[in-house]
Amino acid sequence: MFHLGQYIPRPSVVHGLDPRVKILATLMLSMTILQANTAKAVVLSVFLIGGAWLSRLSWRDVGAALRPLVFFFGFLFLLHLFVTDGRPLSPSFPMVTVEGLSRGLITTWQFMALVVCAALLTMTTTPSELISGIERLLRPLRAVRISSHDLAIMVSLALRFVPMLLLEFHRLREAQLSRGADFRGGAVMERLKKISSLAGVLVIQTFQRADELAQAMEGRGYERGPRTYLRELKMGYADYTVMVLMLVFIGALYTLAF
């Protein structure tokens, strides 16, 4: 199942930070990464490695987030390497250019850094913390009549039911396999058809489930709009300090010319 960037409980400073700080930091870093030149890329790489070290995440943890995308990174690099116009790197391979090499390197780095950045957030923050962080950050949206509470409930229900749907899908598949269905062989279209028959059943079951869930939620007094939470987020000293440091760091990267 999904292990991409899943929460890893560790006793670290980063784990204890307010999720809002981590979300905002991730957003700021992502924007900087997308505009980085080589010099900034080096600084940001050091920063991300430092972040992972502070989060007590190992190379292996971070590698686990990158591994599923290795082919994508390779493809991205080769694409830029071969299709960018410019001065040939060596006369014997006129397709490979100096510009292509540098564009390929920086673009691939950008995507890898974005993935690491997002993984640092999700590996140090539980889904529920993430949701309450997003909910608090989006509260000003009520000015345009969007309820952050409703959004938070939707996201958390989605997260809660994804593992269950997967389980159900496997159960259905096994039930059909045990009655002689074969999902492996055959042409692509044929396999798709077989899988889609499973999807139909799954969709119907999901709607029934949703109906019951809605009734249960209503029974527990659920109404749209404001509600209260077991843990209200509260910014502490450390949170404010990290936020200020982040702003200074990002500001410096933007203003200082490398």
């Binding site: 958390s156 229900l157 269950m164 009734q215 527990r220 007094g221 077991l230």
Partner: protein, 287 residues
């Protein structure tokens, strides 16, 4: 007190009558078992008790609130907690404590009060220490208990259980039943929906439903003693009742009120003793 007056319910205007209850009452702190074969309208009735469904005609009053009155719906939902059959479809939180906080959060209680209620509800169902557990990793029985605790955190006056022991192993069943009994002892009124005759023994009062109507009512002893009628409805009596019934059929002098295994053992041994005389042969033959 929950009072049902001339309740009629249809799912649609032309649909057949799904429920037709002339008069029924559930007292404060009473333990009422609602038993009947599949499709007799038990769950439909349950959904009426906290306003998830409203009567087509007639009324239901819960502590003076009419379930049709939308201005008291919030208080009604708080007063009557519903525990549905499938816990997977009512657990909304990713962790146990988050799920239990859902109801109190809907009531907009302050965080400290939510924390108190979460702890209290977990203790009541015997799951203290489960706060941080992800809900999808729990066993079937634990999920049921979490679902019960989730409703309990709203501090209801009544709890409606819709077949709370289905799909559980015998140990899991016993655990749930003992939690229900404990909750009743703490003063919460219980409406226990089941099709298992074994489970009505604990109740104060039994309502038997068939085809949307209450066809029989009385104490567990009274209901169970009408073995033939229960069998006709497709409800098998518990083993003890069946045994006592057969003994009575064969002309033995056996009381109708014998419900538990202990009582049965006493009754049968006294029968044997009477037959063979004290110290006589067969006094110790297997019971």
């Amino acid at each position: 007190m929950i009072r049902i007056e001339n309740l009629e319910f249809r799912y649609a205007a032309e649909a057949p009558l799904a429920l037709c209850l002339v008069d029924a009452q559930i007292g404060d702190g009473q333990y009422v078992a609602l038993i009947g074969p599949n499709g007799c309208g038990k769950t439909t009735l349950a959904k009426h008790l906290n306003g998830l469904l409203t009567p087509t005609s007639g009324d239901i009053w819960v502590d003076g609130m009419n379930t049709k009155d939308s201005s008291t719906l919030r208080d009604l939902r708080r007063a009557v907690g519903m525990v549905f059959q499938n816990p997977d479809n009512q657990i909304v939180g990713m962790t146990v404590e988050e799920d239990l906080a859902f109801g109190p959060g809907n009531l907009r209680l302050p965080a400290a009060e939510i924390g108190r209620r979460v702890e209290e509800a977990l203790r009541a169902v015997g799951l203290a220490g489960y706060e941080k557990r992800p809900t999808h990793t729990l066993s079937g029985g634990e999920k049921r208990l979490v679902a019960i605790a989730g409703v309990l955190a709203m501090r209801p006056q009544y709890l409606v259980f819709d077949e709370p022991t289905s799909f559980l192993d015998p140990a899991g069943k016993r655990r749930i039943l003992s939690v229900i009994r404990k909750l009743n002892e703490s003063g919460i009124g219980i409406i226990h929906i089941t099709h298992d005759m074994d489970e009505i023994v604990e109740s104060d009062h039994v309502l038997v439903m068939t085809e949307g109507r209450i066809s029989m009512a009385g104490s567990p002893g009274e209901v169970m003693s009408r073995v033939e009628e229960m069998k006709a409805m497709g409800l098998g009596p518990p083993q003890v009742t069946e045994l006592m019934w057969r003994l009575r059929q064969s002309g033995q002098d056996v009381q109708e009120t014998v419900l538990t295994i202990d009582e049965a053992v006493k009754t049968i041994s006294s029968l044997i003793l009477r037959k063979s005389g004290p110290g006589g042969e067969g006094a110790h033959s297997g019971v």
